[in-house]
């Protein structure tokens, strides 16, 4: 009977080996095609890499900053380092929802080599009930490492037309890009350069503030329940980890931050003993000049505005949260010196380009 069993095994072994030998190149080709077809975000829209750029970080961060573009465009992490020695990282993405901020924070807290000292959360995204476009979800999740948290995060924010299988196998989502492949799809097939500065999106162009549409009357004065639910989850997570949570509102003039929402956040912060810094109201104190410190007419700060906000916030955070000055740590300083060098070079290059052309070509002109 054993001999029969062995005979059977010997009979099927070549078939099994052949199947494995055929499957390996087949799967490899699929993986190659998937990598080729996924967007590289090296052109006008670089935010699609922000989630994955975090994984390149070798050192821990004292301050984790969460939020949408009001987080990653309005606080210069490099200024926080340069002026205060605060190591920080902005886990932000375009239109990042509160649920996404929660799960990115959860992931970051597991990955950080040392526990951070504080968490800063931008409250502007709380006004969103659901994701505006599927593309934003893809930018947050496509290069996020797989975990139970990623699964839950996708489930929490997926639009009706989205399918989990398309996140598991992104080739199902991006297969159609075969018509739109560019040189950068080959150039950045394996590795993509880091474009943000610890999550900060640098823009050195200037477009003064213009008029914005009149604020519409709110149908419901309260911030969406689902957003407040995730704010509460973020607060509870920070509490469980023993991390002080700070809420902040960027000095963006549009979209409108309604007084009703402001009141709600103030009340929430007061009830839970949370520090809330409203840089919109304190823009003057921060020295914001809306004729110079914004690159899109007042919606987002440029690097000049972001540095001012970093200086203003840094003073408060250092004093109230006792964030140590890490400039004396040689290992950290060496890494951040390189980052600062890149930051200064990028800023200088953009300043020259803007001075010469009046716009930055990479970001599609002065719009």
């Amino acid at each position: 009977m054993e001999t029969n069993h062995l005979k059977k095994l010997n009979q099927i072994r070549p078939a099994v080996l052949l199947t494995i030998a055929a499957a390996i190149p087949a799967i490899a080709l699929l993986l190659f095609l998937q990598a080729l077809l996924m967007p590289k975000y090296q052109g006008r829209v670089i935010e699609g890499n922000f989630t994955s750029e975090y994984y390149e970080e070798e050192l821990p961060h004292q301050l984790l900053i969460l939020g949408d573009c009001e987080a990653y465009e309005n606080i210069s992490t490099m200024e926080l380092w340069k002026s205060f020695g605060i190591t920080s990282y902005i886990r932000g993405n375009a239109n990042q929802l509160p649920s996404q901020s929660y799960y990115l924070l959860e992931e970051a807290l597991k990955r950080e080599k040392e526990k951070p000292k504080a968490v800063l959360f931008s409250v502007s995204a709380l006004q969103e009930t659901e994701q505006a476009k599927e593309t934003y979800n893809r930018m947050v999740f496509d290069r996020m490492k797989w975990s139970a948290g990623k699964w839950k995060a996708i489930r929490a924010s997926a639009l009706p037309e989205e399918h989990m299988i398309e996140y598991i196998f992104p080739i199902l989502r991006y297969h159609d890009r075969w018509k739109d492949l560019e040189q950068e799809d080959l150039d950045y097939l394996i590795r993509r350069p880091v474009n943000a500065f610890n999550g900060y999106y640098l823009r050195a162009d200037i477009r003064p503030t213009e008029d914005f549409p009149t604020a519409r009357r709110l149908a419901d004065p309260m911030l969406p329940e689902i957003s407040m639910h995730y704010l509460e989850k973020i607060r509870q997570l920070c509490e469980a980890e023993g991390l002080p949570l700070v809420l902040f509102k960027a000095p963006s003039l549009y979209p409108v931050w309604y007084p009703e929402w402001e009141a709600q956040i103030c009340e929430y912060a007061q009830n839970h003993g949370i520090r809330y810094i409203n840089c919109l109201e304190e823009a003057n104190a921060a020295g914001i000049d809306y004729a110079h410190d914004t690159y899109d007419g007042g919606m987002h700060m440029n690097v000049y505005g972001a540095e001012k906000i970093a200086l203003y916030m840094g003073d408060i955070l250092k004093a109230e949260l006792e964030l140590a000055d890490q400039r004396s740590d040689a290992k950290i300083a060496q890494v951040y010196d390189n980052k600062m060098s890149n930051y200064k070079n990028t800023k200088a290059a953009q300043e020259i380009e803007f001075a010469q052309q009046g716009y930055l070509a990479q970001f599609g002109g002065n719009d």
Binding site: A22, A26, L29, L30, L33, L37, E134, E161, H163, I165, E166, I171, L172, R173, H175, D176, W178, K179
Partner: protein, 536 residues
């Protein structure tokens, strides 16, 4: 649940797992299939389950009754102790009873179909009739929601009933097995229309061993069917539907070149869409060990329109032939009509009249089966008219071939293929436009016929960049090449070794998979249209 959805893939995968584990272990594979079919149908609205269940119930109980009457008739026939005249009279009475049962169940089931599908059409016709009499006004449509696949499973169930009536198959004792036959999920939405005795053994499975997991050859065939179906639908049909519908949408306000390309495009699109769906259905069914009948047999190789209809939507046309054409052609009523007509019409014609009248009935039913509107009725009648005229011209064709000796030559076969394709395409225009527009379109196509313009106008018609045009051409080439290889598979097998064939097949299937995966029109930014024949 759509056939082309991730949900369907997950549903089928989970079903296969249950089928070959729990189902096989406890010999309840057919129960798994039934539960899957009920769940699949309930996905379109659980309230609609009442329709297939009702049709199944009537067909099942009617068939059991007919079976009993058949057995009685057999006993009477075999009873030599009774007087022959008495036996004949009893047999006649039984025949009448059988006919009453058959007619009653047919009326009920086709009545259900007629009510949900044709009420609004009947009301609109009635309204037009009343207007013709000078009475203004119209009837508001009732707006019944058409239950999924009702045309297909009703015909399938009634075919089974007629088979039992004729004694060509025994009635199914189990209502649940009958329900499975009617509702078997892959074929519910767009056919094919199966025969009970053909698929019952595989559907219910082997009592001793159950349905075994497909072997390598069966897996290859199933995989090829499914992938080819996906290629036809997602790569070809979804690309062609936009340009084709754009031309149809002009309502005839387009150039002769556009009209011609639109006409050809519509035929090719319909073939890719319909046969693609059927391929997926056949492939999926075969994964569960059920071989459903083919619905297409290289229709564009047909030599005549009559030949074409033996190769396109075969199961519907076979159903019409077996359950409408033959009974009608041999019925007393039609024979009486022919006999009376023979007194005034030429002898030859009156001999062919039964077939023509039966054919008229077939094409009337086929027309309205396709849709509750005048255009489908006219389309059916147009097909009937062309085939009847063609039949009447047979002596002329014989004289022509007698003189020119073209019949049987390769060149003439190609001419006939092209002619049939164009004829079918022109007739399909009746489904798209009012009658007057069809004729004006055809005249325009002929008047403005410009081969160079047509060839040059293809990219503009398709509205695609060059890479996509090349892709479309390549996909069609792949479909044709696959058909050719299938036709010559025995010869190819004899020439190449088994190993070479195995390797080639693996590469071919993987290639099909990659092309469909990457170049299929699905996912974000696309809304894959339902299969065209789902609407029937």
């Amino acid at each position: 649940m759509q056939l082309l959805s991730y949900e369907f893939v997950a549903f089928t995968a989970a079903g296969l797992l249950l089928f070959y584990t729990v189902g096989k272990r406890f010999r309840v594979q057919w129960v798994i299939l039934l539960l899957m079919s009920l769940a699949f149908y309930a996905g379109s609205g659980w309230k609609f389950l009442i329709f297939p269940i009702s049709v199944s119930l009537f067909a099942w109980s009617g068939a059991l009754l007919l079976d009993r009457l058949n057995e009685k008739a057999l006993l009477i026939k075999q009873d030599k102790s009774t007087d022959k005249a008495v036996r004949q009279e009893r047999t006649q009475q039984l025949k009448k009873r059988k006919r009453r049962v058959l007619v009653l169940v047919l009326l009920i089931c086709f009545g259900i179909l007629a009510v949900v599908k044709y009420t609004d059409f009947a009301l609109s016709l009635l309204g037009k009739l009343i207007n013709l009499c000078g009475v203004p006004g119209s009837f508001d449509p009732v707006g019944f929601l058409l239950p999924l696949g009702i045309s297909y499973y009703t015909f399938q169930a009634m075919g089974y009933l007629i088979d039992v009536y004729r004694g060509s198959c025994k009635a199914e004792r189990s209502f649940w097995k009958m329900l499975l036959f009617v509702m078997f999920f892959p074929q519910m939405v767009s056919g094919p229309i199966s025969r009970y005795d053909q698929i019952q053994p595989e559907l219910i499975g082997n009592r001793e061993t159950g349905t075994r997991f497909p072997d390598r050859e069966q897996l290859f065939c199933a995989g090829e069917k499914i992938l080819m179906g996906l290629l036809k639908k997602l790569v070809i049909a979804e690309r062609m539907s936009g340009p084709v519908m754009a031309v149809i949408g002009t309502g005839g306000n387009c150039s002769g070149t556009e009209a011609f390309l639109g006409m050809i495009g519509f035929t090719l699109w319909m073939y890719a869409d319909f046969s693609g769906g059927i391929d997926i259905v056949l492939g999926t069914a075969s994964l569960f060990g059920v071989r459903l009948p083919e619905n297409f047999n290289y229709p564009f190789t047909a030599q005549s329109l009559a030949d074409f209809w033996t190769k396109w939507h075969m199961t519907l046309m076979q159903w019409m032939r077996d359950y409408v054409f033959y009974p009608a052609a041999t019925s007393k009523t039609i024979r009486k009509i022919s006999k009376s007509a023979g007194k005034i019409l030429p002898a030859g014609f009156s001999k062919r009249l039964p077939a023509y009248l039966a054919s008229f009935v077939v094409w009337f039913i086929t027309g309205i089966w396709h849709g509750a509107s005048e255009k489908f009725l006219i389309w059916g009648m147009a097909n009937f008219a062309v085939m009847t005229i063609s039949q009447e011209l047979t002596p002329l064709y014989r004289r022509f071939h007698g003189k020119f000796h073209l019949d049987g030559t390769k060149g003439w076969r190609i001419v006939c293929m092209v002619r049939t394709f164009l004829l079918f395409s022109v007739l399909e225009l009746f489904e798209c436009y009012p009658v007057r527009t069809v004729f004006s379109q055809v005249f325009r196509m002929i008047a403005e016929f410009d081969p160079a313009g047509i060839a040059g106008g293809i990219p503009a018609f398709l509205g695609m960049e060059l890479p996509e045009c090349i892709l479309l051409a390549a996909a069609w080439t792949l479909v044709l090449a696959s058909a050719y290889v299938h036709a010559k598979k025995d010869r190819i097998r004899a020439k190449l070794g088994e190993r070479t064939i195995l390797g080639s097949r693996c590469i071919y299937l993987y290639g099909l998979f990659l092309i469909t995966l990457i170049m299929g029109r699905y996912g974000q930014g696309y809304e894959v249209a339902e299969f065209f024949y789902n609407q029937f």
